[in-house]
């Protein structure tokens, strides 16, 4: 995946202001930054939902401008906000989006069950999503993104506001997916999370990427990588703490 000089403004406000990066096949790439940094806007452009004002996107060799359809068929998106039909059961949600991704009825059902199992939710398959806990909804939200076995997965803050158990389940799954050859773009504003699962990270602030490297390299610039956190790296780069 290659993104080149992406720009997107909402009115006068430049939400994304010249973002360029690329992700290698099989990599888990982290896009870090505080709320409002422009991570979600970047993902929305990469996932063909939002048209950039300018810039170039190439995914799997397909250019966004001319082959958006081809791109849609190889990506999976787990949006930051829960994108679920609350009035349908978990399995119905999964099957529906599976069919939308182009699976036939049989494959959609098989994959839905497999992914629910992966998320530890197979017992609640027939339960209405509205009755699920926040963590369970998050896991379903992620499971849906896996329908159709996408080659590139966009995960936009998949662990925000959930219990540690669900969070650990999600970490394990992401690492498991990578083993199966999936490429992942992962955004978060929890720096330690990125440190734990990402091979490379880009730190975003104010619509721009201000640093990009492996977590190890970024931390080494400040001192011993074992003692320094990415949090400190951000503080050093911007003069601000992340959580204010």
């Amino acid at each position: 995946m290659i993104a080149k000089d992406l720009h997107k403004s909402f009115g006068d406000f430049k939400a994304v202001n010249g973002v360029s990066f690329s992700i290698n096949k099989g990599e888990i790439f982290g896009l870090l930054g505080p709320n409002g940094a422009g991570k979600t806007t970047t993902i929305r452009m990469l996932s063909t939902v939002l048209a950039p004002d300018s810039g170039q996107i190439i995914i799997g060799g397909h250019s966004m401008k001319s082959e958006a359809e081809a791109i849609r068929s190889i990506i999976g998106v787990c949006p930051q906000d829960l994108a679920l039909y609350e009035d349908l059961s978990a399995i119905d949600n999964m099957i529906f989006f599976g069919r939308m991704a182009g699976l036939n009825s049989q494959d959609a059902r098989t994959q839905a069950m497999a992914n629910l199992k992966l998320m530890g939710l197979e017992e609640r398959a027939k339960g209405k999503v509205a009755k699920f806990s926040g963590g369970m909804k998050r896991r379903i939200n992620l499971a849906i993104a896996l329908m159709g076995n996408p080659q590139l997965l966009f995960l936009d803050e998949p662990t925000v506001g959930i219990d540690p158990q669900s969070r650990n389940n999600i970490y394990e799954n992401i690492l498991g997916l990578q083993k199966k050859g999936m490429t992942v773009l992962y955004t978060t504003h929890y720096m330690e999370e990125a440190d734990r699962i990402c091979q490379r990270v880009a730190i975003m602030d104010g619509g721009k990427i201000i640093a990009m490297d492996t977590p190890y390299q970024l931390k080494s610039q400040l001192g011993s990588p074992d003692k320094v956190t990415l949090e400190d790296v951000f503080l050093k780069l911007t003069g601000r703490s992340l959580r204010d």
């Binding site: 068929s73 949006p79 349908l88 939308m100 991704a101």
Partner: protein
């Protein structure tokens, strides 16, 4: 093919959600039926199912005059020959007593032939029928005016034929052009002949007129109460669903769909199809209940009634889609749906039959799809017209549907970037 399948899957998904939603079901089916039952009962007061509309006629002329013959021919002698919805024609022999009855509100109104009727017609002078009616009783007045118009036009037609015949008689030397008494006699004989001729067919003379008059109010109020509320609630239920489309956008599921391999047109098509299927379920229930419980009569052309209903559903679904693409928030969509439904329904003749409105209001009403729909239903189900009479309504509904649909597609394209 794949995209068409997705259209269908999206529609099915929406239906599944709808079926799980009890409040939606209430607004779709139970609530409208409650209204129909309520208003059907209220409207019965205007013209109960068992009391036939009676149209009274009288004459100020003496026996043996032309109007006597006409009245004799028109008077309903055997009520059992009348079809449902046909008015009963009553000949009030005493003109002054009839007037008194109207003054005393015992009679809604009547038509009277003037004292100079025979004389005027045979001498070729104009004359006018008198409609004497209680000003407050709009229904009776409309019906009487219609009937009076029908009688005059029939007489007018006959007169032309008679004049031509008399001219032929004179030309052929049968009557002398100076023999005015002879001419008068011939005219009177022919005129009487035309009207007496109708006696043989019994009520058929009036039936023929009823079509032409187009203002005789049907006896079964369900015939306009049911279609009126069908139009209102199909539209309302559909419009209110705009809220759920906006909710879908807010729930970010739309975003998920946009990032999947579904074409934008297929998403819109799926939502539209779901809305249309819900509407179709609704009209099947409406007509089912209407026919079984309220004995509505689809008139000469049930096909026209069905096509009008389907077009009403399509138009409403398109409106809902347009509303959803125009409104930014769920709340805005909901309010817009309620406001448009509540304003357009009475203006479009869903609460009271449009033909009772003054002409200028009827003209304004034409900007609403409701008016076209109710007008079409009324023509078939109240006035007994045939399929052709409803075609303008069908075309108008289709045009509204296209307009709403195009705006929706255009807005969806420009807003979902």
């Amino acid at each position: 093919m794949k995209q068409l399948e997705r259209v269908w899957l999206i529609a099915l998904k929406d239906l599944k959600i709808f079926m799980n939603d009890r409040t939606a079901a209430f607004f779709f089916i139970i609530f409208p039926l409650m209204f129909i039952v309520l208003f059907n009962t209220v409207m019965k007061g205007i013209g109960g199912e068992d009391t036939r509309l009676e149209l009274h006629l009288a004459t100020q002329e003496a026996a043996g005059s032309l109007s006597y013959h006409i009245l004799g021919a028109m008077e309903t002698t055997d009520e059992s020959l009348l079809k449902p919805g046909d008015p009963k024609i009553v000949w009030d022999k005493d003109y002054d007593a009839a007037r008194q009855a109207v003054e005393n509100k015992k009679l809604a109104g009547f038509i009277a032939f003037p004292a100079d009727f025979t004389q005027a017609l045979s001498s070729g002078n104009s004359t006018s029928l008198e409609v004497y009616a209680d000003a407050g009783n709009i229904n009776a007045r409309a019906a009487l005016n219609g009937l009076a118009g029908a009688i005059s036009s029939q007489i007018g037609t006959n007169e032309v034929i008679i004049k031509a015949s008399v001219a032929l008689l004179i030309e052929g030397g049968v009557i002398s052009p100076t023999d005015s008494a002879g001419i008068n006699k011939a005219v009177q004989q022919m005129m009487t002949g035309y009207f007496s001729g109708a006696t043989n067919t019994g009520a058929s003379y009036i039936t023929f007129k009823t079509d032409k008059v187009g203002e005789v109010v049907a006896m079964n109020p369900s015939n306009y109460v049911v279609p009126g509320y069908l139009v209102m609630f199909v539209f309302f239920a559909s419009a209110i669903m705009a809220e759920s489309i906006v909710r879908e956008r807010k729930n970010h599921t739309l975003e998920r769909l946009l990032a999947s391999s579904v074409r934008r047109e297929a998403i819109l098509g799926g939502i539209f199809t779901g809305a249309a299927i819900r509407g179709l379920i609704q009209i099947v229930i409406f007509w089912g209940v209407g026919i079984l419980v309220f004995h509505v009569d689809m008139g000469l052309s049930p096909a026209a009634v069905i096509i009008l209903s389907i077009l009403m559903v399509i138009m409403s679904a398109a409106f809902s889609l347009m509303l959803a693409t125009l409104a930014r928030t769920q709340r805005a969509a909901g309010s817009l749906a309620v406001i448009t439904s509540l304003v357009l329904a009475p203006l479009g003749g869903c609460w009271w039959p449009l033909f009772l409105y003054p002409q200028w209001l009827q003209n304004i009403a034409k900007i609403t799809p409701h008016a076209w729909a109710t007008d079409g239903f009324n023509k078939i189900m109240v006035f007994g017209a045939d399929f052709g009479a409803a075609v303008p309504s069908m075309i108008a509904l289709l045009a509204f549907a296209l307009l709403f649909g195009l705006i929706a597609v255009w807005r969806f394209r420009t807003s979902a970037t």
